[in-house]
Every structure is written in C-alpha cells, then in structure tokens.
C-alpha cells in the first residue's frame, strides 16, 4: 500500500508541472487556431500559464488576446492588455478570497475583475460575494451590480440592490432581471438617484418590494413577459 501511495505521489509531483505545460499548450493552440502569430500566442500562453499557477483563470486572458487580435491591435499592446488583465484578476481574486472563498471559481474571478474595472471597489466585491448564498450566484451578482453601476447608479447603491435581492432569496432569473427593471425606470424618466431610491426603498416611503422583479409593472415595456425562449415574440429591439 505504501508503494502505491509513493507511486501516486510521484505521479502527482511529476505531472503537476506537466499539467501547467499542457494547459499552456492548450491556450497556445487555441490562439493559433484563431490566427494569432505563433510568437504572440506563445507569449500570451506563458502569461496565462503563470496566472493559472496563481489560481487565476487562463481562458479570460486568452479571450482578451483574441479580442485584441480581432480588433487588429498591435501585438505589444495585446500583451500589455493581457498582463494588465491578469493583474486585475489577481486583485479580484484577492477581493473574493477576502470574502471567505478560499478557492474562487474562474467565473467569479473574471466577473469580479470586470466589476472592479467598471469602478467597483474591492470591499463592494466582497459584499456581493459574501451575500451570495451559493457560489454560482456570486458571478452573476457581480455582473448585475456592475451593470447597474454602468447605468449610472452609484457603486454602493448597486451593491445594496444586489445584496438586497440575494438576501431576499431572489432567484437567479430575478437577479438578472434587475438591470431591465432599472432601465424601465430610466425610460419612465427617473434619474439614477430616483432609481436607486425606488429600487432600494420601493419609492413609496419604505416598502421594499417596489423594485422586485416580480413586479410586472416595472418591467421594460419592450420585453414580453411570457412565451417560449425561442419564440420570436421574445425578440427585443435594442433601439
């Protein structure tokens, strides 16, 4: 039995660096398949492998490089952006870990990084992650908070709205509906401050369900409230 354990331990010790190499090769192959020059793909893959060793997801970094290449950004700027994004995700990972999540998923780290790039502070990220009852709701929660902030709401208010929804045990669908509700209020002519007030306080002097996604009246008028997901009736015009 000791021999078997020694065998497994040896395999792990030797295979761990090999896994990193394999991961790097996977990223590199993916980038080359998208037309990136081999040298650029190799450099990005090396950054991604280093990031991965620090617990940072490598696929968002590959995605960023692909985005830059598609936009015909020069290679040196792509590398700079990828490095910067890796640093951002490192900071985001630290913020998520500060919320008590020892090994955050790549989705949460990427969402936190995007939210922080949008202006959310580490402590705001921490608040959203801590309020998430399940790990899989933290990432969309961060995305929704970032979206609300991008609509003009204050970061603190956006976080309060999302945290409130999580504490009210709103479903994932209801959580993801919050930006639509906020924009419906915008369409009604409410200012970001009024939207914050209404979503946080219900706009009626303290009733806290005025912003709930179950409130049909607050839905965007352009979005049908029923129908099959693929039914054309759900098609929503952007303008």
């Amino acid at each position: 039995m000791k021999t078997v354990r020694a065998l497994l331990a040896g395999a792990v010790v030797v295979a761990a660096p090999a896994l990193l190499v394999a991961q790097e090769n996977g990223v590199e192959a993916r980038l080359e398949a998208r037309g990136l020059p081999a040298s650029l793909a190799h450099s990005v893959a090396a950054i991604a492998a280093g990031a991965s060793a620090r617990g940072i997801p490598d696929q968002p970094l590959a995605d960023k490089a692909i985005e830059g290449w598609a936009k015909r950004v020069p290679a040196d700027r792509i590398l700079g952006a990828v490095r910067h994004f890796a640093d951002e995700m490192g900071n985001a990972r630290a913020a998520v870990r500060a919320a008590g999540v020892e090994a955050p998923s790549g989705a949460v780290i990427a969402a936190a990084a995007e939210a922080m790039r949008g202006g959310m502070k580490p402590e705001q990220v921490r608040s959203v992650v801590q309020a998430a009852a399940a790990a899989d709701i933290a990432a969309p929660g961060l995305s929704v908070a970032a979206a609300l902030k991008a609509q003009g709401l204050g970061g603190e208010q956006a976080v309060k709205i999302v945290v409130g929804a999580m504490r009210n045990h709103e479903s994932m669908a209801q959580l993801l509906d919050l930006p639509s509700i906020a924009w419906a209020m915008h369409d009604e002519g409410l200012s970001p401050g009024d939207i914050e007030h209404r979503m946080l306080d219900g706009g009626d002097g303290g009733a806290h369900d005025g912003w709930r996604s179950g409130d049909r009246g607050s839905r965007p008028s352009t979005v049908p409230s029923s129908g099959h997901d693929h039914f054309p009736g759900r098609l929503t015009r952007l303008r």
Binding site: T3, V4, A6, L7, G10, A11, V12, V14, A15, A18, V21, A22, Q23, N25, G26, A29, E32, A33, R34, D63, E67, G68, A70, K71, R72, R77, A81, H84, A107, A110, A111, E114, R117, G118, A139, P140, S143, V144, A147, A150, Q151, M172, A173, L176, D177, L178, P179, S180, W183, H186, R219, P220, D229, H230, R234, L235, T236, R237, L238, R239
Partner: protein, 214 residues
C-alpha cells in the same frame, strides 16, 4: 512382487538387454518366458484410432480457452502490487509526456461563452445600427468569440442594419464592425466599458425575462 523380483542381477541385465555373464539354471527359461509374455502382451495392444489426434487437439484447444478465461479472472482479481520507487518515477514521467503531448491539437473553438452563464437559457436579441454609407456591418462580441462577420447584419432601404441572435442569459460585450475593419460601440447602448485596448465595448445583460443594454 513380480516374477522378475526373484531373478539374479545377471538375469536383470539379460532382461534389460544389457551385457550379462552367467545365468543360473532355469533363469534363461523364466526370462525367455517373461519376454515371450511381454511380446504377447504387446501384440494384443489395439492399434491407435486415427481420429485420436483430432480428439487430442480438440481437448488441447479447449484447455487453451480455459487458460484465457483464467487470465481474465487473474486480471480482475484484487491483488497487491509492489513497484520499485524508480519505476514510479518512470511511470510519472511517462504520464507527464502523455499529458504534454495530448493537447497539441487545437482546442475546440469556444463561441458565445459569456463571462457568466448562470442559467441555461437563451433570448433572441435584435441588434440595429444606422449606417447608410457602410458596405458591411456585423456584430462581434464575447458571445461569438469576437469573430468578425460571424453575425452579419442586413441592410434595409433606409440604411438601417440589423441582425438577430439567440444569446445565452448573462452579461455580454460587443461592438459593431463596419466594413470589416472599423470597430464602433453601439451608439444606443446604455453604457460602455473600457475594452483594455483604448476602445470601448458595449455591454448587454440578458436576463431570462428579457434584456437591457447597460
């Protein structure tokens, strides 16, 4: 005890076909009688059946099959395996080499994976851009791997370009690509974010009940 047991050593040699000296009186007669009996017995042995070979080979092959079955049983039976540490290292290196070589082929293209995809649902989204002077317009974003031309837009007589796509629920970033080279954010988007390259990406949040550009 056989009849041969009472013979002298010389008589045993005689019977065995070996050189011998003198035989005691009567031993010759007894030995010759034994030899005659042996010949008689040998003549009475029936001839071998020609089909015997086939029967024997059939039996041999049957035993071979049984050995195969026992080999399977041997493989399936739990047993203690002892390996020298040096072989553990060799096996680990071999495993590492396999892992290193395995992902050489390009990974399958990942398209349309949003930053977060919490709900397995899609919503049809219509993109529109007024660009009367454009020759081609497409939408590229996180939902199609930023592939230029993957979501081509159609132009109407007024110069309004439009395209519809089924997007997974979640947050997506995108831009319009005019004439294949010019990237512009959606002018009607509710908000934009830094794309990290000095440009701006439009953001769309698709919820199960609908969407909003943010």
């Amino acid at each position: 005890m056989t009849e041969r047991d009472g013979f002298s050593a010389n008589a045993h040699r005689y019977l065995d076909g070996e050189p011998f000296e003198e035989l005691e009186g009567g031993e010759f007669a007894a030995a010759d009688r034994l030899v005659a009996d042996a010949r008689d017995y040998a003549e009475r042995i029936p001839a071998l059946d020609p089909a015997l070979d086939a029967a024997v080979m059939t039996a041999v092959r049957s035993r071979a099959g049984a050995r195969k079955r026992s080999a399977v049983a041997w493989l399936l039976a739990p047993r203690t395996v002892s390996v020298r540490p040096v072989w553990a290292g060799v096996l680990a290196v071999a495993a590492a080499l396999v892992l290193w070589l395995a992902p050489r082929s390009p990974a399958p293209a990942v398209q349309g994976i949003p930053a977060s995809r919490p709900v397995a649902d899609t919503v049809y989204v219509r993109f529109e851009l007024a660009a009367p002077a454009a020759r081609t317009v497409s939408v590229a974003g996180t939902f199609n791997g930023w592939r230029v031309g993957a979501l081509a837009m159609s132009r109407d007589s007024s110069g309004l370009w439009s395209a519809t796509a089924a997007l997974p629920v979640g947050e997506h970033r995108y831009e319009f690509v005019v004439d294949g080279t010019r990237w512009i954010p959606d002018p009607t988007a509710h908000a934009e974010v830094d794309d990290g390259f000095g440009g701006r990406n439009s953001v769309i949040v698709v919820g199960p009940k609908g969407l909003v550009r943010s």
